[in-house]
């Protein structure tokens, strides 16, 4: 029988790289990404599921990293904002956020980017209303959302155009 303080060996496969870490069972995925993997782009704004600043992709779908345990993510593909562009040029979503002034303080931005990335990859043809409904999952205190919506729409167009050319 394990003690609650015994650390468990966990492998987090983040942005295509394996991080072998040892964590207490109670460590959240968000804390493990931030503290054990050094990926502080995933932010914590509430730790109870409401703000979405911690949104990452697990198995390609957006989830709240504050409501998942690190052990539960063992071995599963995870993507965070750090992996969106890699070392290359900005991802179309990132570009669009810059062009449309979709961020001010930038604290909510990684969460919105990952939410939008997850959705656009799964539903590239998503309609306006459905998109607005999904983006209402995350809070932003600075921008008033208008430019975030504009940016995601613009990115969706760019991604489709690129796909059409490719």
């Amino acid at each position: 029988m394990t003690s609650p303080h015994d650390k468990l060996a966990v492998t987090l496969a983040v942005n295509g790289r394996d991080y072998r870490i040892a964590v207490e069972p109670r460590r959240s995925l968000a804390d493990a990404l931030r503290e054990d993997c050094g990926l502080t782009g995933t932010h914590l704004g509430c730790e109870h599921g409401y703000c979405g600043a911690c949104t990452v992709l697990v198995d390609g779908v957006p989830v709240r990293a504050c409501l998942m345990l690190a052990v539960q993510a063992h071995g599963r593909p995870i993507r965070t904002v750090e992996g969106l562009a890699g070392d290359g040029p900005l991802h179309p979503l990132q570009e669009a956020f810059r062009d449309e002034h979709g961020l001010q303080c930038g604290f909510c931005t990684p969460g919105f980017l990952m939410l939008a990335a997850g959705v656009l990859e799964r539903e590239p043809d998503i309609g306006d209303e459905a998109l607005r409904e999904i983006l209402s999952a995350n809070l932003c205190r600075c921008t008033g959302y208008q430019n975030i919506v504009k940016a995601v729409r613009a990115a969706a167009r760019r991604i489709k155009e690129a796909a059409g050319r490719g």
Binding site: T40, H101, G106, F107, P110, S136, N138, Q146
Partner: protein
């Protein structure tokens, strides 16, 4: 220097800040770490008011991983946190110590601090700290008669800390001449900035150099450096406060709080770096709240609705202690209440009362969101009393352009209020034209006739910006032509790097890509006022302009590639006063008692915009916060002073689904006369009149003038108001 004249000022330049933030490279407070760091967890009072008899920390100290547990005895030599702004005599007894001494005065009042190797363990240990508190009846309303602040230890000290009075003109004569007297009682609920990033700090002591460094600073690093130094008995130059990225300020973040002092003190005493990250529940009960004012207004008006005299009694709920803002909010409330109207005679008395709620400070448009709501409700009430159109009543009262500059007759924040420029009637005309006002009214009337509950309302306001006294900037250029601008400003996410770079680029005529802006570092510049009161673009912007011009002068005739550096100052004795109007169209659903904002328009004269894209961003973001305060956000307490709103499930900040696209109508008709750029601030433009406009629109939708007397207009309140059968 450049290939051709390039314009930067006035252009919607993309932000220099963005790339880092978009790629996850931001360095927010919680992102910082230092080897060997300890984690602090604050133990907070579970009761609203009580005599603190003892704190049992034995069990907490025994928990493996715990390094220290402090109570007041460990920090008793640290003086209470001083008042930064609007300090008036007699406030000293109301200041907060970094840990509670002998009373606790709100749920969330720090009583102990735990330091542990791991944040999870720190939280485990905090649960094992047991304060013994003798609970006393809590006061949760500022309109109740004052009582004793701390009856046993400060006998005779009243919970009314101050009464701020501002007056001019002959009020008695005004009332004697009145055609009618209109009275009104209205209130604005308790809400606050709630940036998406909670507070946080990392303090480190370098024994070799003897310096203490705190990262995670914001807003006013220079001032806070001085305070930390004073409180911990260190020379100023041995303390550095450094700002990284900041996840929103809104008035709340960056003030000096007990926790900042605790981490600094702990880094010194425990000789290890100490990190603190606030959790959201703590934030909602420990960081400054705001608003929470009641207004009793009496206006003497003539037959046209012209206000001959206005008398106001205001109750400002200060919460448990007087914090760094002193009486800033009450002071601004009293000074800004007359707004854009002539009001020849005036008196306001603002009672600043301590209650057993979270201490209050400023939140974006402090004292204006509230006073604009009260004043504009009054204008609507006057229109109704006289059977006149609300827009026409406003027109009758607006200060005409030829009276500018207009001496308001009062002071605030230590400066005389003199509206420097403005054409209030023109902005109103432009807004009405933009709205196609008559058509809009007809359309709404038609919808009402068809059974819908839709309405229109507006709120006019004057803002203030560019608080002095001075700002400094230092600009250097190196041999490669790279330019560095160092300012004493602070970024709170509002895009100041870009705006400062634009000003510098315009003057120096260098491409903006070659400019780097540094701010929020007390180790790089010795003077800085920081970022508050929408002061940065005006004050820091003009200092940057001056420094750039000084640099140009130095470089005149010098060889290309000569490194050089110059400093520039900008001083201002007076603020500059932008102004605006908010207009809202709402629909009330009587079945649910919910209010839906269908349209929200902000008309605003900014004097001159450095970057219109940023200005619009400020306006839209502010408007959504304003809608939040008007309809959703409120800190509610039960009769014992227990906060009922301590999670994001109950503190209802609007999501995308609750807000309409905000329309910004920005004009540049009245450039500032107080500064060479002609700029006025934009930070508070979006939020100021939102409560006023929405309240008026709800009245209109219900066909019941004067129905809304309190913000936020929550469904439960609207249900009571409608007195639906049941």
């Amino acid at each position: 220097m450049a290939d051709g004249p390039t314009r930067y000022i006035g252009m919607p330049h993309k932000r220099l800040e963005d790339r880092t933030l978009l790629t996850g490279g931001g360095r927010f407070a919680a992102d910082l770490s230092a080897p060997g760091q300890l984690h602090m967890r604050v133990v907070r009072s579970p009761v609203a008011f009580g005599r603190l008899r003892s704190v049992d920390v034995r069990e907490a100290r025994r928990l493996p991983g715990v390094v220290a547990v402090w109570t007041f005895a460990d920090v008793e030599r640290i003086p209470p946190i001083q008042i930064r702004l609007t300090k008036i005599g007699g406030l000293e007894p109301y200041q907060q110590t970094v840990l509670a001494r002998d009373y606790v005065r709100y749920v969330g009042d720090p009583v102990a601090a735990v330091f542990a190797e791991d944040p999870y363990v720190a939280e485990d240990a905090a649960e094992l700290v047991f304060p013994e508190i003798e609970e006393l009846p809590a006061c949760i309303s500022a309109t109740e008669p004052p009582r004793e602040f701390m009856p046993e230890t400060l006998p005779g000290v009243s919970s009314e800390a101050a009464c701020v009075t501002k007056a001019y003109g002959d009020l008695d004569a005004a009332f004697a001449a009145a055609h009618e007297v209109v009275e009104l009682e209205v209130a604005v609920g308790r809400h606050t900035g709630v940036p998406l990033e909670t507070r946080g700090a990392l303090a480190e002591f370098d024994p070799a150099k003897g310096t203490l460094t705190m990262r995670g600073a914001a807003k006013v690093p220079h001032y806070n450096r001085g305070q930390v130094a004073r409180m911990l008995d260190m020379p100023d130059e041995m303390v550095h406060l450094i700002q990284g990225h900041v996840g929103g300020g809104f008035g709340v973040r960056g003030e000096l709080y007990p926790e900042d002092v605790l981490v600094c003190h702990a880094a010194l005493r425990l000789k290890r770096p100490v990190k603190w990250v606030e959790d959201r529940q703590e934030h909602l009960m420990a960081a400054n709240h705001s608003r929470d004012q009641s207004y009793r207004l009496r206006a003497a008006v003539d037959a046209r609705g012209f206000i001959l005299g206005l008398q106001a009694e205001v109750f400002s709920d200060q919460g448990g202690y007087v914090r760094t803002h002193g009486v800033t909010v009450p002071d601004l409330s009293a000074a800004m209440l007359p707004g854009p109207y002539l009001v020849p005679a005036y008196r306001a008395d603002v009672h600043v009362r301590l209650t057993n709620k979270t201490p209050a400070g400023t939140y974006r448009a402090p004292g204006r969101y509230e006073s604009t709501f009260a004043r504009e409700r009054l204008l609507d009430a006057i229109a109704h009393a006289l059977g006149r159109d609300p827009v026409e009543v406003r027109r009758v009262n607006l200060i005409p352009r030829d009276r500018m500059p207009f001496d308001r007759g009062v002071d605030t924040l230590g400066t005389r209020v003199v509206y420097d420029s403005g054409d209030y009637a023109l902005l109103l005309d432009k807004l009405l034209a933009y709205l196609d006002y008559d058509r809009l009214k007809q359309a709404l009337a038609a919808r009402r006739a068809a059974g819908e509950h839709v309405g229109f309302g507006l709120g006019y306001f004057v803002e203030k910006s560019g608080l002095g006294p001075a700002d400094k900037a230092v600009i250097s250029i190196d041999a490669e032509g790279m330019v560095e601008v160092v300012t004493g400003a602070a970024s709170i996410g509002q895009g100041i790097e870009t705006a400062m770079a634009q000003i510098c680029a315009e003057v120096l005529e260098v491409p903006i890509e070659r400019i780097r802006v540094v701010h929020g570092r007390t180790d790089r510049i010795d003077y800085g006022m920081g970022a508050f009161a929408s002061r940065v673009t005006v004050m820091t912007g003009c200092a940057v302009k001056a420094a750039a011009e000084a640099l140009l002068e130095k470089l005149a005739g010098a060889q290309v590639g000569t490194p050089a550096s110059a400093e520039g100052w900008f001083r201002a004795d007076h603020m500059t006063y932008p102004y605006g109007i908010h207009a809202a169209v709402v629909r009330v659903d009587p079945g649910t008692c919910a209010v839906h904002v269908e349209r929200f328009v902000v008309a605003y004269d900014i004097g001159r915009a450095v970057n219109p894209m940023l200005v619009e961003g400020q306006i839209v973001g502010g408007a959504v916060q304003g809608i939040g305060g008007a309809l959703f956000e409120e800190f509610v307490y039960d009769a014992n002073g227990q906060p009922l709103v301590t999670t994001f499930g109950d503190y209802l900040m609007p999501t995308l689904a609750e807000v309409p696209p905000v329309e910004a109508l920005v004009t540049e008709d009245a450039p500032a006369t107080q500064n060479p750029l002609g700029v006025k601030g934009a930070g508070e433009a979006g939020i100021n009149g939102a409560g006023a406009a929405i309240a008026a629109a709800v009245d209109d939708a219900l066909g019941r003038p004067g129905a809304v007397t309190r913000l936020p207009v929550t469904p439960i309140r609207l249900h009571r108001l409608l007195g639906e059968r049941d």
